[in-house]
Amino acid sequence: MTEPQITIVGGGVAGLCLAAELAERGVSLRIFDRYGRPAKHGCSWWAGGMLAPFCESEAAEEPVVRLGQEAAGWWQRHNVNVERNGSLVLALSRDGGELDRYARRTEQYEWVDADGVPVLEPDLAGRAQRGLFFPTEAHLSPRDALACLVGELESRNITIETADGLDFPDNDNEAALPTKVRKIDCRGLSASDAMQDLRGVKGEMLVIRSADITLSRPVRLLHPRIPIYLVPRGDGVFMLGATQIESGNRHAASVRSVLELLSAAYALHPAFGEAEILEIGVDARPAFPDNLPRIRCRGDWLYVNGLFRHGFLLAPAMARMTADYLLSGQIPEVMDENLN
């Protein structure tokens, strides 16, 4: 095998998007992950897969909203099945104030009333007096999307190789790329050994199956303490998420969290009481103090990290900016450290 120009460490959504972007632009690369192909070991596996930059602006800052708008198109170009049915945001009647606040904080939505909700989601007839519909938003199935990228890379003869931590063959290929960068760290929270300001934000989620409810788009149910979302995966399967707890604990979903998520789903529609629980997932999202992503350059290492709860939303833009930097030296707007 010829010596690659770039070595990527970390085969989650950030590493795979970057690998796909670079390979597409003709960069030779190898990609390593401690555990190989995407699976339960990485937080991308547990993601919701909502490509909802406008909904996210409720709590996220401007770069997330702007950069996130690249996502749906990028995923489609990479042959991932992207459902462009928008997002629906609802609140139970006594939490109506939450909906007004959400509307003030976001844009690109239409108000829908009690008659409009079932036009979008017939099974939610009578469940909400009004809601916000974000027509331009989209969603995907994260596990299918990761598999799609793995397949695309394999078609270019790039497979995810296993290597423990940073124990992989060093890369001293001098082949012409404008920057010194040869290795890119996309390890997510595992990279906190290299970045002290990276922290974990625990998320818990469930996968449930209901024969009684069909949804065409992600539905968010606002609540002052326990906001939830349901993302349809097809065949009656839904991803129900997600808690957001300041903890790097990646291994145990708490009874309270699961109880609260399920109670909220049940409040949205009592038919969810009959749903089957297929999976309970937990992991910690990597985040910097402002919850915005970063690209950092230290010598021949580049660090791409801090995608927080926006992995599938921001990884395409991060990949594009990283590739631009590697190929043309253009400094990414999210680069906050440059020791090249």
Partner: protein, 257 residues
């Protein structure tokens, strides 16, 4: 300045640390508002394996007094366990004691609260009990060893302000020397000013700042209102009266139309 368990705080503003858009915004809210106490809710899961270390470090770096709380505890036993964990995590014997009695209104459980307060005080904790305006409950908490009371303005997270000003005035009047913090239920700075004008010693809030569109600006607004209310209280406000009283005497005016 009132002392809380012997500690004189530079400002009367205590601020919660939950629900901010990001820790960076949380930090800015503290810096800009000069809030002097940070309350932190301790989750049992976050303790053992130092899993919350990243966030704890951010809180410690604020450089303010940390007041851990037992938010979300529904029984005295749970609250006591959480308090002990908090003491180890934050190396402080201060604890804001919440024993919730009602899951919908988050109203304190007065019976469990007194039980937990007595146990924690015996164990050397400096307890800040989240209580109602109830005088008898206040009495029991003081008997249990609490030297500070934290009556609610309104139920947690409602933003309704001081829903029972009469009850709060009575409480203040009954125990003029007990440091009291209005905790929970405030939505607007004007309500904070009102509480300080009534003679309360400090204010604790979280949601009103964290969930504002601009949390940093709202924190500053609250800080100014708290300062205004305190200045007004110390300035000995006039007594309201029913009759109009002209501020300029009419007699002796040189020209009248």
């Amino acid at each position: 300045m009132t002392a809380f368990y012997g500690v004189e705080l530079p400002t009367a503003f205590m601020l919660g640390t939950a629900q901010y858009p990001s820790p960076a915004i949380l930090g800015a809210a503290f810096r800009e508002s000069a809030a002097s106490v940070a309350t932190v809710s301790v989750r049992r899961e976050a303790a053992g394996a130092q899993a919350g270390e990243g966030f704890w470090r951010l809180i410690r770096d604020l450089g303010v007094h940390v007041l851990p709380n037992t938010a979300g505890c529904y029984s005295p036993g749970e609250a006591i366990t959480t308090a002990k964990m908090a003491r180890e995590l934050f190396e402080t014997d201060w604890i804001k004691l919440e024993v919730i009695g009602h899951s919908d209104s988050l109203q304190p459980d007065p019976f469990g609260l007194v039980e937990a307060a007595a146990s924690l005080c015996r164990d050397g904790f400096k307890v800040f009990p989240y209580t109602t305006e109830d005088l008898v409950l206040a009495d029991r908490l003081l008997d249990a060893g609490c030297e500070v009371l934290m009556p609610w303005g309104a139920p947690i997270g409602t933003g309704l302000g001081l829903v029972n000003p009469y009850g709060l005035r009575s409480l203040r009047a009954q125990y003029p020397d007990v440091p009291m913090v209005i905790d929970a239920g405030l939505g607007l700075p004007s309500q904070a000013a009102q509480a300080m004008e009534m003679g309360f010693d400090a204010l604790l809030l979280n949601t009103a700042v964290a969930k504002a569109g601009d949390p940093v600006a709202m924190a500053v607004a609250f800080a100014k209102a708290i300062e205004a209310g305190k200045l007004a209280r110390n300035a000995d406000p006039m007594e309201p009266r029913d009759m109009a009283a002209p501020s300029t005497p009419l007699i002796g005016k040189a020209f009248l139309q």
